[in-house]
């Protein structure tokens, strides 16, 4: 098992086994959501702090998410793996399943030690996966940055657990739940948790590793990281604030909401200007995590003002979006992976027109695009709809100032959702539609059978989550009930209509909506087919009569991002190289960078560098100076002793 060279064993046996295990996990989790929390003490761990494992509604939901998505990704991975890339397949397979196991362990951990062990094993195994093709320098750099920020995040999480145990020395979560932390320590714990889990989730100031690490990893791994690993950070956040701290303060919600909104806008604006397929999807993960964090902020806000039902609604929206994002983001990452595998090309400027050669991947990607853009029949829309409904109820807050701020927040969320539509049209249009921008794209082949099943499983997930929201909400009900004391599952309307509070207020029925829409489309198609003849003739494109059309006349990815660069100019750090008018070889180059890199990360690195320079003065090599140190220490201590 350690490092089997044979590719066949890994991809034909182990990955499908992983997929089946994922399904089994999902089934167990589904059943555990409704059961009462079961906890057990494992023989492993420290002598006086053995591993405690506990599955309650919250962890069962995330286990369900992990199992369902991992099933799809593992089936895809069994067809995706090819020898000769990066490490031997056996090692990759081992790390992959260690990654899955550690994520499951994070979700069931019930004491600080087990949680930290699982948390960093997850980071470590994903690091080895990210740097599986470690011959390129930038992949190594991405891996290093990823593990460094993950480790710093883990440090702040450890400090947060330190603050949570408030001096009792007992690090099991049950103890933390029982003791009533003083407000000061609780705030310190919340802020540390926000920093620690935010670093892993990719909240804006700490997001720099995400667009580097995800593209570097092989596609199934980046799908798994984007879909599930970010959610373990959200799970951690929920576990600490709603479960361990008890009653959160309302202004924590404002901080989380602000962080979420900034991440959402920042992520999507940067996604719009990317020219690398997987970096674009990574930035859009930052946007979706921003939406989830703003939903979480809203939950805290309502919980702070003890408005139970509204907190339940906001929490349902947050969890629903976690599930949706897991499905459609992994679908998009996997389709990008198939494109990458077929064409060996990741930059958008050298793709195009793949819908002819890869219809299966194209249509699954279309489902993903419509879902992520938050458009009605599919699942993206449902969670956005719930989130916007939650925002609409905020004017009921007792705090006057809050009532003003939250509509602005709703506007930002709407803008982010619209922008995600823009980004996804760019992604889909440039990759799949239009003319192929490279000659060799013509002999690409479609995805293999395994990969197709993976993609179809995830696409079906997106459609099902879109069309049956009421059943899913009833699934989320035990969680919201345990976290906020209220649940909206009971009166979320009949199986057909989703009406979270009451029907007059707002109701939406995706199934009816979908049926009527398809009915109308079929009627128009039939009426056109019956009444008028169907003569079709193939000819060259019209293009206003311009004969010499070639593939370079299409819009490139950078061109498509130009309006966003123009509108959101202050977000970026743009360095422009425009050619002189008389330049013999004019070269136009525009480099778009992240300002935060220069404001936060480089100053910290320089500070460490300065301190190091200061400290190395101690070791200048002269033996008499060393003797002087020892002499001085002796004299100092002797003086100090008397």
């Amino acid at each position: 098992m350690l490092a089997p060279r044979s590719l066949r064993l890994a991809s034909r046996v182990l990955f499908p086994a992983g997929a089946v295990a994922g399904l089994a996990l999902a089934a167990v989790a589904l059943q555990a959501i409704f059961g009462s929390p079961a906890s057990r003490v494992l023989p492993l761990g420290l002598p006086d702090l053995p591993f405690h494992a506990r599955i309650d509604a919250l962890s069962a939901f995330f286990l369900l998410l992990l199992g369902a998505v991992a099933a799809g990704i593992s089936t895809f991975a069994s067809g995706y793996l090819r020898a000769g890339e990066g490490q031997p397949p056996g090692l990759q397979c081992l790390c992959y399943h260690a990654f899955l196991a550690s994520m499951a362990a994070v979700l069931v951990a019930d004491d600080a030690y087990f949680f930290m062990v699982a948390w960093e094993t997850m980071a470590l195994s994903s690091f080895f996966l990210v740097t599986s093709d470690h011959r390129h320098a930038e992949i190594r750099r991405a891996g290093y940055l990823y593990l460094l920020i993950a480790h710093l995040g883990a440090i702040s999480i450890l400090l947060c657990f330190g603050a949570l145990q408030a001096g009792t020395g007992d690090y099991t979560f049950d103890a933390m739940r029982r003791i009533e932390q003083p407000a000061g320590w609780a705030t310190v714990a919340f802020l540390l948790a926000l920093a620690g889990f935010g670093a892993k989730a990719g909240i804006v100031p700490l997001h720099v590793w995400l667009p580097e690490a995800h593209p570097a990893a092989p596609s199934p791994v980046s799908a798994l990281m984007s879909a599930v690993m970010l959610k373990t950070a959200v799970y951690g956040m929920l576990r600490v604030t709603l479960d361990l701290i008890g009653l959160p303060l309302w202004w924590w919600g404002v901080i989380a909401l602000a962080a979420g909104l900034v991440s959402a806008l920042f992520g999507i604006v940067f996604a719009a200007v990317q020219t690398d397929m997987k970096r674009l999807l990574a930035y859009s993960s930052i946007e979706n995590i921003g939406l989830i964090m703003s939903g979480f902020g809203l939950t805290l806000l309502f919980r702070g003002f003890s408005m139970g039902t509204l907190a339940a609604l906001a929490l349902t929206a947050t969890l629903y979006h976690c599930l949706n994002h897991a499905f459609f983001k992994s679908l998009l990452f996997l389709s990008a992976g198939s494109v990458l595998h077929a064409t060996r090309e990741r930059s958008l400027d050298r793709l195009g027109g793949l819908i002819q050669r890869m219809p299966w991947v194209a249509w699954c990607a279309l489902v993903g695009t419509v879902a992520i853009a938050g458009l009605p029949p599919l699942n993206g829309f449902v969670s956005e709809w719930l989130l916007l409904q939650a925002f609409l109820f905020t004017p009921g807050l007792p705090h006057a100032y809050m009532n003003m701020l939250v509509p602005v927040a709703a506007a930002a969320i709407a803008l982010a959702a619209a922008l995600s539509g823009y980004v996804m049209v760019k992604f889909y249009g440039v990759v799949f539609l239009g003319q192929p921008r490279e000659a060799r794209l013509s002999e690409t082949h479609d995805a293999g059978p395994w990969e197709r099943t993976g993609l179809l499983w995830l696409a079906a997930g997106c459609v099902a989550l879109g069309l049956a929201p009421v059943t899913v909400i009833s699934l989320l009900d035990p969680i919201t009930r345990s976290a906020t004391g209220y649940g909206i599952g009971s009166h979320a309307g009949s199986w057909l209509f989703l009406a979270p509070i009451e029907p007059q207020r707002a109701s939406y029925s995706p199934l009816l909506f979908f049926i009527v829409a398809t009915l109308l489309v079929v009627v128009t198609w039939l009426s056109v087919r019956i009444f008028y003849h169907g003569r079709v003739r193939r000819a060259g494109p019209w293009d206003c009569g311009f004969p010499y059309l070639d593939s370079r006349m299409q819009d490139t990815a950078e061109g498509f991002g130009q309006p966003v660069r123009h509108v959101f100019e202050p977000f970026f750090r743009i360095t422009l190289e425009t050619p002189l008018p008389l330049d013999s070889r004019p070269r136009y180059r525009e480099l778009v960078e992240d300002r935060l890199w220069y404001w936060l990360y480089l100053p910290v690195a320089r500070a460490v560098e300065r301190v190091t320079a200061l400290v190395t003065v101690l070791q200048r090599g002269r033996i008499s100076v060393y003797l002087m140190y020892s002499f001085a220490t002796l004299l100092l201590l002797l003086l100090f002793v008397r």
Partner: protein, 220 residues
């Protein structure tokens, strides 16, 4: 008569020891430095023998004999042979000039005394007042190692520090148990041999004994 004069003679010997330490601190020439070291060894032998006589401790005689053999004859002979083989006659370069070292030396002596004061009141031994001097001579030889840049003076500084420790042992507690005394003596001998080997190696590799050339291993 022995009981009466004994303590004064020991104090006298302690004073001579301190004087020798100062002399070594201010010495410029290697050969005289080695002779001073031998003298220090001899004084140490005398004091140990005297203490042994005063308190008729059998093992102190043995330790006095060892000191005589080791510190007065063997080590100085080794050092002389070393100097002759390396035909090194140059004077001892110091990092800071002699007057300032002397000043610092005096400060060290004062410090050593008021540090040793509480201990010596408690000491039941007849030679308790010499503890301060022993500590002072140890600190002075430590100081000598720091201020000398050549390898040989550093070695001599290290060995004179061992002498100071032995004198402290006899002054405070009538010498350590036998097995410890022998062990320490053995260690000092082996240390001297190894240092000799090293000095040859350094001389051969660096063709100078100035430790200022031994500074490549550092943080850039």
């Amino acid at each position: 008569m022995l009981q009466h004069f004994g303590p004064q003679v020991i104090n006298l010997l302690a004073a001579v020891l301190l004087l020798l330490a100062f002399a070594m601190l201010s010495q410029r020439r290697i050969l005289s430095l080695i002779n001073l070291f031998a003298a220090q060894g001899f004084v140490l032998f005398l004091s140990t023998a005297l203490v042994a006589a005063l308190t008729d401790q059998k093992h102190l005689y043995v330790s006095a004999a060892v000191t005589l053999v080791l510190k007065v004859t063997l080590l100085p002979w080794i050092l002389h042979r070393l100097i002759r083989r390396l035909n090194v006659k140059w004077d001892v370069e110091t990092l800071i000039n002699i007057p300032t070292t002397m000043l610092v030396g005096i400060l060290l002596v004062i410090l050593a005394f008021n540090l040793a004061a509480p201990i010596s009141q408690l000491a039941g031994t007849v030679t308790r007042s010499t503890l301060g001097i022993a500590l002072a001579s140890m600190l002075l030889s430590f100081m000598m190692m720091i201020t000398r840049s050549k390898a040989v003076p550093q070695v001599i500084g290290f060995l004179s520090m061992e002498n100071g420790l032995f004198f402290a042992a006899t002054a405070a507690v009538y010498g350590m148990p036998m097995v410890v005394e022998l062990g320490v003596a053995l260690d000092v001998l082996v240390a001297a041999l190894i240092l000799g080997v090293f000095i040859f190696e350094i001389r051969e590799r660096f063709d100078t004994l100035d430790t200022r050339h031994l500074e490549k291993l550092k943080e850039h």
